[in-house]
Amino acid sequence: MAIEVEKLRTGGVYEAQAPLGSVLADVGEIDKAEQQFARVRKSRVGRGFLCLGAAVLGILVAVFAEALILVGVLLAIGGVICAVMVWISAYRYGRNLKTYRWRFELLGRLGASLEQDSDPKAPVTVSMGLKDRGRLLKEEIWPARKRGKQRFSEDDWLAIEGRFQDGTQFTETVRELIRRRTYVNPRGKSKVKCRSWHFISIRLSCPKDLYGELRPLEEGLKKTLRLPASATVRGLKVGGKAVALKVRVDQAAELPQANVMMYLGLYRALNLARQLQGRQK
C-alpha cells in the first residue's frame, strides 16, 4: 500500500487497514520519506545562503556604486528577507517526521515482532500520530519557581488492533503524557522544561475454548512479568477470557523493548493456560 507522503508531511497522521506485512512496508516508506525531507531541508538551507550572498552583494553595490545605491539597498533588504523565509521553511519542512522518528521506529519494531504470529488473512488497523496532537489536560501555577507555570497535555499517538493466528484479538494504545514547565531563573532568564511519560495499554481477548479460564493466572502474571528499568505496571486485569495490561515507561528509548516484553509476558501466561486447558480436554 503506497503512503501519501504529502498528506503525511502536512497532516502528520498515518492510518492503515492492511496486513501487518504491508504496514511494515509502509514504515519503510515513511523512513524513506523522512530522508527525502531531510534532503529538501538541506537544499533549502543552501538556498538561504544564496539569498544572503545576494544581500551582501547588494550592500557592496550600495557602498561602492553611488549611482546604484537604491538597487543595492533593495537587493540587500530583499536578500535578507528571502534568506530568513527560506531558512524558516527549511526548518519546518517535514519537521514532524524528524521529531517523531522514534514513533514510527517503535511501530516498525513492534510490527516485526507481532508479524511472526499475526493472522496473515486478518488486516490490522493502525492509527499513528506523527505530530504533536496533545490535548490540554490542565494548566496551573507552579509555586516552586518564580513566575512558574506548568501545563499537562496528553497525546494518544498510537492505536493498533488486529488478530493473531490463534484467534486472539489484540488492541494496543500508546499515550504520551507531557508536562511543560516555564519559569524565570534567578538571573532573570525565561526557561522551559519538558518531560514525558508514556503509557502502553494492551488488551488480549482470547478464544475461550482454546485458553479456558484465565483468572487463575493473575497472581503468576504479576510475579513473572518482566519489564525494562524505567517501566512500571500501572494496571493488570485478568478476566474470564481477556487480559489487559497497562505500563508506564519513563524513558522513550525503552518503549520498543517494554512494548515487546509486555506481549511476551502476557503470552507466556496464555501459553500456560492453553496447556492446562489441553490437559482438561
Partner: protein, 98 residues
C-alpha cells in the same frame, strides 16, 4: 528428496508456537535449512524471558491449583506442547484423521 506433499512439522513463532507448514526446509530462516530442531523453543531473542517455556509452580499457584496439583512442578510433556501447536478443533475438523 523431499516429497511434494511434505509440510514442515516444526514449531515456529515468537509469542506462541504454531506449525511451520513450509513445503521445504531449504532456505528457511526459522530452522536454517533444517539445522534447528525446534525453532520456537530455541529462540534467543525474547528479551528478559530466557526461560519462556518453563514454569515454576511457586510462581503460578493459581495455575497449579487449576491443574489439580498445587505445590507440584508444572512439568509439561511432549503431548502438552503438541496441544499448543494444534488446537483440538483442528483435529475435529480434519475428517481424514482416524
Amino acid at each position: 528428496m523431499i516429497p511434494s506433499d511434505w509440510t514442515c512439522p516444526r514449531r515456529i513463532g515468537f509469542l506462541f508456537p504454531h506449525p511451520c507448514g513450509r513445503s521445504s526446509p531449504v532456505g528457511c530462516p526459522e530452522c536454517q535449512n533444517g539445522q534447528i530442531e525446534d525453532p520456537y523453543a530455541q529462540r534467543t531473542d525474547r528479551e528478559g524471558y530466557d526461560n519462556y517455556g518453563d514454569y515454576d509452580s511457586a510462581d503460578w499457584p493459581g495455575a497449579a491449583s487449576a491443574a489439580g496439583a498445587p505445590g507440584e512442578p508444572l512439568d509439561f510433556t511432549e503431548a502438552d506442547g503438541e496441544n499448543l501447536v494444534k488446537p483440538e478443533e483442528e483435529f475435529e475438523g480434519d475428517l481424514t484423521e482416524s
